[in-house]
């Protein structure tokens, strides 16, 4: 008795408003074939959101719909079964008494019995787990468990796919393979995919759009790079991994060129004038990592859109082929940070205590409207 005919290619629309218990407010849409990454600090409400979409808990009010089908509103609420989705819970939720293969087969009830085993094995192969169909969950390593859960969620041809940090326990090699697999699947199945992740890079790499949730509130949504470039507020900026956030004061406005000058420590920098600035205004600004440059500046051939800044290198941290550099700017409390390639750092002869210049791209300087 199937209550619904899984109508593929339907977008998922979510509006949730909950004040009691675990507070959560969010509203977004995820089209078929789109991957939406939910990011945000630990305890923000990401898992709670996914559980509500899955039908495992009921929001106080709001609406969840998939295409024309209403999954939840004040009047009705479909069961998880009726929603026909694939869900990889954060802690995997494997059936402890069933082996890996049987765990996957449990999601294949819609197939004739004879095909289930073959299908299950196929899915295990695709998550790189050929060798272990007979293993019980407690005999699997953390990453292996996670992949079984992934295979189980994918196996049932879901209408919507929900992934709660699906790669957190998986090693890098397998993870990259699974990225590809996921991207292909998303396109092939043409369904909405919602993925919780802590890894901003993962979000940027895989997601079409990103939703940022913190302390039960949806702070921003949009394309990953757009959110990074224009975070609504400081909190968002921090959660997106931006570290260069500073105070400044507006000291000049060039109305014709739509440029504004900011007093930054003992120096001045130019930025684009978003229109609402007033002289003497105290504000916070942020610059993404790619807006900060060391190279080519010694030549003095900087275009107008670059601000030159005198800095002192405070510390250098080598991370693989990148060097993370923290610099101090005169009169500014917090360090200005940047990453440069190891090559460049060597070429420019960087060392701690060295005085140098950095360039801040003025069109990448983003001013916050509100203080966080």
């Amino acid at each position: 008795m199937k209550l619904i005919n899984p109508s593929s290619n339907a977008a998922l629309q979510v509006r949730i408003d909950q004040q009691q218990g675990i507070p959560l407010r969010a509203e977004f849409r995820c089209a078929a074939g789109e991957l939406l990454a939910v990011v945000g600090p630990s305890g923000g409400g990401k898992t709670t959101l996914l559980r509500m979409i899955a039908g495992l808990s009921t929001p106080q009010s709001g609406e969840i719909r998939c295409g024309e089908q209403i999954w939840y509103n004040e009047q009705q609420c479909l069961t998880p079964q009726q929603r026909h989705l694939g869900y990889v819970p954060q802690h995997f939720g494997l059936f402890p008494h069933l082996n890996a293969e049987a765990n996957v087969m449990a999601a294949l009830d819609h197939l004739p019995k004879a095909e289930r085993r073959a299908q299950a094995r196929d899915w295990l192969r695709r998550v790189n787990l050929d060798g272990f169909p007979e293993r019980l969950p407690h005999q699997l390593s953390g990453g292996q468990k996670q992949r079984v859960a992934l295979a189980r969620a994918l196996a049932r041809n879901p209408q919507v796919l929900l992934l709660d940090e699906p790669f957190s326990a998986v090693d890098r090699g397998t993870r990259e393979r699974l990225y590809v697999e996921l991207a292909q699947l998303k396109a092939k199945l043409n369904i909405p995919v919602i993925m919780v992740t802590h890894d901003i890079n993962e979000a940027v790499l895989l997601a079409d759009r990103v939703v940022l949730i913190s302390q039960g509130a949806m702070l921003q949504q949009g394309e990953p790079l757009a959110v990074m470039a224009k975070p609504h507020n400081e909190l968002v900026a921090r959660h997106m991994g931006l570290r260069n956030i500073f105070d400044a004061r507006v000291v000049a406005l060039e109305s014709n060129e739509q440029l504004a000058w900011l007093q930054f420590g003992e120096q001045r920098i130019a930025c684009e004038n978003p229109g609402h600035l007033q002289l003497g205004m105290q504000l916070r600004w942020v610059i993404p990592n790619q807006g900060v440059r060391f190279n080519s500046i010694s030549q003095g051939r900087l275009p107008r859109s670059f601000n030159k800044l005198q800095v002192t290198i405070e510390s250098m941290l080598v991370m693989g082929d990148l060097v993370r550099i923290a610099t101090s700017v005169a009169g500014v409390e917090h360090p200005l940070q940047a990453e440069v390639s190891l090559n460049l750092a060597q070429k420019l002869g960087f060392h701690e205590g060295m005085q140098t210049e950095v360039a801040l791209k003025s069109d990448m300087i983003h001013l916050f409207r509100h203080r966080a």
Partner: protein
Amino acid sequence: MDWLSLWLSVKLAAVSVAILLPITLWLGRSLAYHQFYGKSWLEALIMVPLVLPPTVVGYYLLVGLGRESWIGALLEQYFDAQLVFHFSGLVIASIVINIPFAVQPIQRAFEAIPEEIRDAAACCGMSRWRILWRLELPLAWPGILTAIVLSFSHVLGEFGVVLMMGGAIEGETKTLSIAIYDSVQAFDFDGAGAMSLLLVLFAMVTLAITSAMSRRMLRRSA
């Protein structure tokens, strides 16, 4: 040696447990999953057959199921059947008496199944029935087994109720416990000893096999 009584006791235990199990599974599972007002009282009520002396339960069953009661009268009138002094009556009595033994461990076992697993199953699209069969029952199995073992053994050893409403009819209601008691009363201590030993041996073999089998089953799957 009273083989007929042994056979009767075993039959009674088997039949009673077979009927008891679905009832207590339903009851124990409901109590485990649902919270409602007065649940503590219901749980206490279920314990009542355990608190009353079996002889008293037996007496009230004798009265409640006898020809004078409406159940007894109905049965007699339409089916010409009688519950008291019959095997069927003993089955009913054993069930009533053993509900507490069976419900408690089953309830605990269902309570111990992590919510996470049931959630995952719902998201896998498994129907309630499949969740019950494929997940809940296997995971609750140790508790269910305890329920089976406790009630099976208890029926084998049940005495008071059978005494009160059985009538010690050979092949019908004279179970091994009654036979042993009769021997003791007749100062036939050797006979009583031999029958007790038989009962103990039979029970031990059955129970040992059950527990070994279920351990093997669990080891294979957990």
